[in-house]
């Protein structure tokens, strides 16, 4: 009998606020240890938390984006445990009444088309960091991160494979960046996932005992860890064993999960409402105001791209992978005469280089009007595609954005396509005369020899000839 994998994901998205969730200290990454820790973050005696409204706004944006319920009244609770990088001895979180309840996210790509429901999303503060390496026999504590606002997003256990779980994480990652509540930087820990994994016999209505896997700081690790963990559990069950509920840690170097603490060792967090904070009460007006600032969401934009720009579902999906790219495409498409070409340029030239540079579309040195201009110049025959790509490349590699427009550059550098047929014919004749060997080869049946001749003509025209026209002319002359 086959096994079914059941996965639920808990995501911690660091909210893109300037200051911390309960203090005025900055949240910037990478500052010297403890330089961004205020009296509140250090938990000096007598200090009190004050809720940062910007973090609440992020949570509301998220709730609206996933179609969840924004609870008009939610409650902050204390999660009590001792750890040196948890300064108060408790984390302020939300427990019984989270700010967002329910909602869903759509996974789509390849054969996958699935709506995953969310359980909840709640606001909480991050802990600091324990630094074990740099201090001989001691542990350093850096409280810069303490109090950083997090949105913990909990999915229902509806994911059925490691790949689905990874797709969920990617979609969530795209969404939080799309709506501008999280920078999504996984290296810096801005977006972290834990996975709850269990397995059961196919058709079994009951869930198996789950293990929580922590430390999954890339989509690849998430997928590997879940695949490993599911295999581990299946092996145990098939060997007649039982799964112990526990927290496990993924070791990416060995590609395995290891037990971190068992259920017996689990903390009793003694949650109770934080008496230092009033319940978070939200008004309809406040929620509606935030709704008005939400951008068009990826699902809607994808449908619109298919409808309005005639893109394939797959292309529309690629172009709505992140908001900057989608906006870039739309700017190109609206200025270009050829929308299919716009999609090809953005998915080809632009996206390839962005991926290599690990940059987002809004950081591109070649701006949408330039790409549109290149497309239009090719479309009306003013330049050939090779020239267009060369110009794009030069602009991409320029130390800074060029002041000169694409049009002007084509004129100034005399890059316009050779349209005078007699000039092209003369160049073809010259090349044929100068390359008897290639001509002979072509006539002997080596079709590839033609490419060499086309190249020679293009070179002689300084790249300005229309390659198709050259090809045509050569064939006619050689076969004629």
């Amino acid at each position: 009998m086959s096994w079914e994998i059941v996965v639920g994901i808990e995501t911690h998205a660091q909210l893109a606020t300037r200051s911390k969730i309960f203090s005025g200290a900055a949240t910037a990454f990478g500052a010297a240890p403890n330089t961004q820790a205020s009296a509140v973050d250090i938990a000096l005696p007598g200090v009190l938390p004050v809720l940062n409204g910007a973090a609440v706004e992020c949570a509301i944006r998220f709730g609206l984006a996933v179609g969840g319920t924004i609870n008009r009244r939610s409650v902050f609770a204390r999660k009590n445990y001792f750890y040196p990088d948890l300064p108060k001895g408790y984390q302020i979180s939300q427990y019984e009444r989270p700010v967002v309840a329910g909602g869903s996210i759509t996974l789509a790509g390849g054969d996958l088309q699935k709506v995953v429901r969310l359980t909840r999303a709640h606001l909480e503060e991050d802990a600091g960091k324990s630094l074990h390496e740099d201090f001989h026999g001691m542990t350093g504590i850096d409280l810069n991160r303490a109090g950083t606002p997090l949105l913990e997003i909990v999915s229902e256990p509806e994911l059925r494979s490691a790949a689905e779980a990874a797709a969920y994480a990617r979609a969530m990652h795209a969404l939080v960046r799309w709506i501008g509540i999280c920078d999504g930087n996984m290296q810096e820990g801005s977006f972290r996932c834990d996975a709850n994994v269990s397995v059961r016999r196919a058709g079994d209505p009951l869930l198996g005992t789950r293990c929580e896997i922590k430390n999954l700081n890339s989509f690849r690790f998430l997928e590997q860890a879940i695949a490993y963990e599911a295999r581990r559990q299946i092996e145990i069950l098939e060997g007649g064993g039982r799964i112990e509920q526990e927290t496990r840690l993924f070791d990416p170097e060995r590609n395995e999960t290891r037990s971190m603490r068992s259920k017996e060792e689990a903390h009793d967090y003694r949650y109770f409402p934080d008496p230092d904070l009033l319940p978070l009460v939200l008004s309809e007006a406040q929620i509606e105001r935030i709704r008005g600032t939400l951008p068009e969401l990826p699902e809607a934009m994808r449908a619109r791209f298919v409808r309005d720009y005639g893109l394939s579902e797959q292309d529309a999906r690629t172009l709505t992978a992140d908001r900057a790219l989608a906006e870039y495409f739309e700017a190109v498409a609206n200025a270009a005469k050829d929308r299919k070409a716009a999609a090809n340029w953005v998915m080809g030239e632009v996206l390839a280089r962005l991926n290599v540079a690990d940059a987002t579309a809004d950081q591109s040195k070649v701006k949408p009007p330039d790409v549109a201009a290149l497309i239009n110049l090719v479309a009306d025959g003013s330049i050939n595609l090779g020239t267009a790509k060369k110009l794009f490349d030069e602009r991409w590699n320029a130390p800074r954005a060029l002041d000169i427009s694409v049009h002007d550059e084509v004129v100034v550098r005399d890059l316009g396509q050779l349209s005078d047929a007699s000039v092209v014919a003369r160049l073809v004749d010259e090349v044929l005369a100068a390359n008897p060997k290639s001509v002979a080869e072509f006539r002997a049946g080596k079709d590839k020899a033609l490419n060499a001749l086309v190249g020679q003509v293009m070179k002689a025209s300084r790249g300005k000839a229309n390659p198709a026209q050259v090809n045509d002319l050569l064939r006619r002359k050689l076969q004629g």
């Binding site: 005696p45 007598g46 009590n80 001895g89 009793d268 109770f272 230092d276």
Partner: protein, 486 residues
């Protein structure tokens, strides 16, 4: 001069019949002479006090003095003060110097008052006798073999012995009012949210409230004018317009309806306490107040409810004292858990540990609903009793404590008996209500008796007005302990 009220002292300073430096020196001399016996102060910094007094005199000379500029006063050692020890009566913080000032400390500094020092208290404000202080108990100036009450016992003893014209305190279950009653001074616990808790070391956050301890109701009003008001750093601080707490000092008593809860006059109250309180109530009746018999049926549950909620909050609030960042850390330890255990075992006293254990227990998985949640429900019932009562009267009167000051050590081994001492002071903070205690006479042993006035939310001014009228015609509040003559 030492027996003068704040408005009298303010007048003398304004007339330049005394300077702040002279007045501060008088207090410091008296502290130097009497504090050895009373142990009212944990920290005194004469140099700093005189420097602040000098600055206050300069401010007055420059014409920028406020009404309390130059008045010396003491802060309970639970308020964080920059550049001076803030111990909270605990070994845990015996060497702790706060890098910032509490809101209340800031307010008084801005008003130009002079800080005489930090007063003794029960450790982390947990106690009703001052005996849980790591620095030894403060003594009652009326009889130094007796407790001054707690937890603000040092502040009350300091004001009673005229070491300081006034002091701050905090009240969680009676920590201002009970010591005020035991030492024959006046103390007000304001409505929850009126005085910012920022910089006040938390015991039980939903109950803690700062307030003044002074010689008269009028003095309490003047101090409240400085302490009260919104502070954005405390999310539970109420956004209300600034109030003048002296505005009802002259309000007539005629027609005032005084509620007398049957539960406050029952068994277990010392006869002399009951007699003095009834005499005071009769005084009000004689001046036109109407007495209204009423019931607060759920208030009998106040003590058990309090001893679930307050320890629950305390167990969490005191988690930050872990030896990692500041405060006491044990010398030798094997690992992290050992460091925590030894640090907290050494740093906290027995009563604090008892409450942390109780609090941890009632919040634990499987017990939360039965204890913490149930206590919160009963807390609402207690508040509802008061809300109904205030439909029938403007203020409620009764004894502040069931007895006068007890002997040092009398309740040391019986925590429940100790807890029952707060039976009349605990209901008001559970309902967030303002309440004050004023002296209303003495028992046969010459120990002061306190009369408690409780009002509806935000009726501090009315409570102070009624108390002030009483003090216009009585002199209990002007009496000075024989052991500490002027």
């Amino acid at each position: 001069m030492l027996n003068s009220t704040l408005s009298e002292l303010a007048g003398a300073l304004a007339r330049r019949s005394i300077s702040s430096v002279e007045l501060t020196r008088l207090c410091l001399e008296r502290i130097a002479r009497l504090n050895g016996a009373l142990n009212a102060f944990i920290t005194v910094d004469a140099e700093r006090s005189l420097r602040e007094a000098g600055a206050a005199d300069e401010r007055r000379a420059a014409g920028r003095a406020g009404s309390l500029t130059g008045i010396p006063l003491a802060h309970k050692d639970i308020y964080c003060t920059r550049g001076m020890l803030t111990t909270c009566g605990s070994r845990m913080l015996a060497n702790f110097v706060s890098p910032y000032d509490a809101h209340v400390v800031e307010r008084f500094a801005a008003a130009g008052t002079v800080l005489l020092g930090k007063t003794n208290m029960d450790e982390f404000a947990m106690g009703s006798s001052n005996e849980t202080s790591h620095f030894g108990p403060a003594k009652n100036p009326w009889d130094t073999a007796r407790v001054p009450g707690g937890s603000s016992g040092g502040s009350a003893a300091a004001v009673a012995a005229r070491l300081a014209p006034a002091a701050t305190g905090t009240d969680t279950g009676g920590s201002i009012r009970q010591p005020a009653a035991f030492t024959g001074v006046c103390g007000l616990k304001p409505t929850y949210g009126v005085v910012s808790r920022y910089g006040l070391i938390a015991f039980a956050s939903s109950l803690d409230q700062g307030g003044p301890i002074a010689k008269s109701a009028e003095d309490l009003a003047l101090l409240m004018n400085v302490m009260g008001g919104h502070d954005a750093r405390d999310s539970t601080s109420l956004e209300r317009a600034a109030e003048d707490y002296t505005r009802e000092l002259k309000a007539p008593l005629a027609g005032l309806r005084i509620g007398l809860p049957r539960e406050y006059f029952g068994a277990g109250i010392a006869p002399a306490v009951l007699a003095r309180v009834r005499e005071a109530i009769a005084w009000f009746e004689a001046r036109g107040a109407r007495l209204v018999e009423l019931e607060l049926p759920n208030s009998r549950l106040a003590v058990p409810v309090y001893y679930v909620i307050a320890p629950a909050e305390a167990s969490s609030n005191l988690s930050r004292f872990d030896g990692v960042r500041y405060g006491h850390r044990t010398r030798d330890y094997a690992d992290l858990a050992d460091m925590y255990c030894r640090t907290r075992a050494e740093g906290f006293g027995a009563e604090v540990k008892r409450r942390i254990l109780i609090g941890t227990y009632v919040l634990s998985h499987g017990y939360y609903d039965a204890y913490y949640l149930q206590a919160q429900k009963v807390r609402r019932l207690i508040a509802r009793d008061f809300a109904e009562a205030f439909g029938r009267c403007e203020l409620i009167m009764g004894p502040t404590a069931p007895s006068t000051a007890f002997a040092l050590g009398a309740n040391r081994d019986d925590p429940v008996q100790m807890y029952l001492n707060d039976i009349f002071t605990i209901p008001a903070p559970l309902a967030g209500l303002p309440a004050l205690s004023i002296p209303c006479g003495f028992d046969a042993a010459g120990l002061p008796v306190g009369l408690q006035l409780t009002g509806n939310h935000f009726t501090e001014a009315r409570l102070l007005g009624a108390a002030h009228r009483y003090q216009q015609e009585t002199d209990w509040h002007r009496r000075v302990p024989a052991a500490t003559p002027l």
